[in-house]
Symmetry: C2
């Protein structure tokens, strides 16, 4: 059975005065409001993506989510977690259960509460905990990805300005997205990025995604029942995932992410498409360099030419291959468990022509990419309005 | 594609001087030793079950697990979590991915580090965190299940001695299991249980499962490749899961777990069997009362007669319907994420006639049951040596 993404819900991202329960309720309410024919009795699966609700003291979050909507006919329920790639893992779990004929429908719910009043919460890490995290600054995300940036700049001549352009583009796109974090200040130019506070060389503040709260939801159903919920069935066409470990020491190169390339090839092969067929992409821009390396490994340009791709404006909304029209992690903020699900919300809206001011013309195939750790775990999903 | 459980690995349960990494390595090593034809290149999936590795500060545990065995051909990787039912969720995720044709094989790895030197770790709870946990003693597991015991005793006349017999049986069985916790002292009689330290009326110490460390692993593969790894293919035949929420207030009755009965019916229907076809069962005896209520809701006896079933000796290894020959949670200890996987290790050993001193004659069909929260989430798996 083919699986169709048939509905979406979003809670506003940001530094919210809201608990995990509040955030999940908000995204679920939005899903049911946006999907008028959806009844609670229809829902047979519930897969919750959350990286570390334990920072709020709460595990067993999927059971809590089931309480919020009182799903009587639930047959498959779990939380999935693989750091920043948790959202894709949840989508994959729901998809595979539908494809295996075990359930007809599932809600995928992504949520993260990042903005907590006690800094000890951040001692729970998705980096390697015994060695990298306590011993090294590069056990922290900014320093880890800074190594990637340094090596990429040295090897391929990527410039500081090209990095900054990712930030300008994504902050600009986020202004068009009603669910992004509030942008009280934002970089309007490369100079604004270069003048922002240094974080970890070469990154300044605006090269980094912000920790925010948020939630997001999808309805995924079997092809045969999809028409009850939507006139534009958006199919899950391809999937690729690779993991080479967790410690930073497993990375053979900081600038070349071969395992991302391999995951992308798996996804393209499964979807029976080529990179040039992609009309819109949401990629994991936790830091500006990440988006540039992803352009290359995903095949949007040749290796080493990612910086030029953004410099030429090709990944802006009006470019040849728009990337992160939603605003990405840098523009929207990064509530870890919610991010991967929110990416697919954006792809769904683009493919249904419901993206408002962010709408890209003629979208038929979209790609979403997330990663976990310092790029050690890679995940790709491909969606399309028709099956090849 | 039907899925076959084709290999097992275990780490010793107990208060271990071992980290999450150590425990996972031990179970994986055991799996590869017990499955001689298994090569790392064969493994396409890795699903890790762990309730709260965040107590050790570590999330993204599935990526760490992938590092331990350097799986080059991994295509599907995630952690699953739904409190004490996490292990079954991992088995289900691997099974469904295989059935959907996405992967041919997966390692399922359950692990928990419970024995930590700082009590703050236990502020991370799988009970409802905002209301039940801080406000009420019944937000703790012993008090919550004590309510179940009190109501069951009042309504059905279950006796204190019948509860104690569960403890005597499971502690006795655990003595025959080389992977159970070390039992320096154990109740040899009903009197020993009744004389142990009071915990939450009517429970004494020996009515409760102990928090221990542990890990467990399974190899699950598609039917067509199973013969490479095993001469006795053990099929995943049926699955049932229900969740009614997380707060204790969602329980309509403490003594009648209607949602467990409903989950069991789903599993029996899928496996095309009746309760009387079960030759061996591993059920979630977090507290003595739980096993008695489970007898009833799983259909091993009529409602209200669970106490009599154990009193008559029918659920002992030499009885009509042996339950928890492994020793259960009470005998083995309860490393949360590892428990559900370890149950299926036992069913596999019983069905393959590899259970040594615990072997039950003529096992063809086995059932495993876990639950999360105060019985609010229920999960059942049915396995068998032939497909009906």
């Amino acid at each position: 059975m083919k699986a169709v993404v048939a509905g979406w819900g979003m809670a506003k991202f940001g530094r919210r005065r809201a608990t995990l329960r509040d955030l999940m309720s908000e995204a679920l309410k939005s899903l049911f409001e946006n999907t008028p024919n959806l009844s609670r009795d229809d829902v047979e699966g519930l897969v919750v993506s959350s990286n570390a609700p334990e920072r709020s003291g709460q595990t067993n979050l999927a059971s809590l989510a089931s309480e919020l909507i009182n799903l009587e006919n639930l047959k498959y329920i779990t939380r999935t977690e693989i750091a920043c790639a948790s959202g894709h893992a949840a989508i994959r779990a729901a998809w595979f259960a539908i494809s295996a004929g075990m359930i007809d429908s599932a809600i995928v719910l992504g949520v993260e509460k990042m903005w907590l009043p006690y800094p000890e919460a951040m001692l729970i890490t998705d980096m390697e905990r015994e060695w990298d995290f306590p011993q090294f600054w590069y056990g922290r995300a900014p320093s880890g990805f800074a190594l990637c940036a340094q090596e990429h700049m040295k090897r391929y001549g990527t410039t500081r300005e090209q990095l900054a352009m990712i930030s300008v583009k994504n902050h600009g796109n986020a202004l068009l997205n009603p669910y992004s974090q509030e942008l009280r200040r934002r970089p309007k130019s490369v100079e604004d990025v270069l003048n922002s506070r240094p974080v970890s060389s070469p990154f300044n503040l605006y090269d980094c995604s912000a920790r925010v709260d948020g939630a997001s939801a999808l309805l995924i159903v079997g092809e045969d029942v999809a028409k009850s919920y939507t006139d534009v069935p958006v199919y899950l066409l391809g999937s690729g995932q690779k993991a080479i470990g967790l410690s930073l020491s497993v990375m053979k190169s900081y600038a070349d992410w071969h395992h991302l390339k391999a995951a992308a090839l798996d996804a393209y092969r499964m979807a029976k498409i080529e990179p040039r067929d992609i009309d819109v992409a949401e990629v994991h821009d936790c830091f500006t360099i990440a988006e540039i390396i992803e352009y290359e490994e995903l095949g949007f340009c040749k290796k080493g030419e990612g910086g030029r791709l953004v410099e030429e404006g090709q990944t802006f909304i009006d470019g040849d291959i728009p990337v992160n029209p939603r605003g990405g992690l840098i523009g929207c903020g990064h509530p870890v468990g919610a991010t991967g699900v929110a990416q697919v919300v954006e792809i769904l809206q683009q493919l249904r022509c419901e993206a408002g001011k962010r709408q890209i013309d003629g979208c038929e195939i979209g790609l979403a990419h997330t990663q976990g750790g310092i790029a050690t775990t890679q995940s790709i999903l491909i969606l399309g309005v028709s099956v090849k």
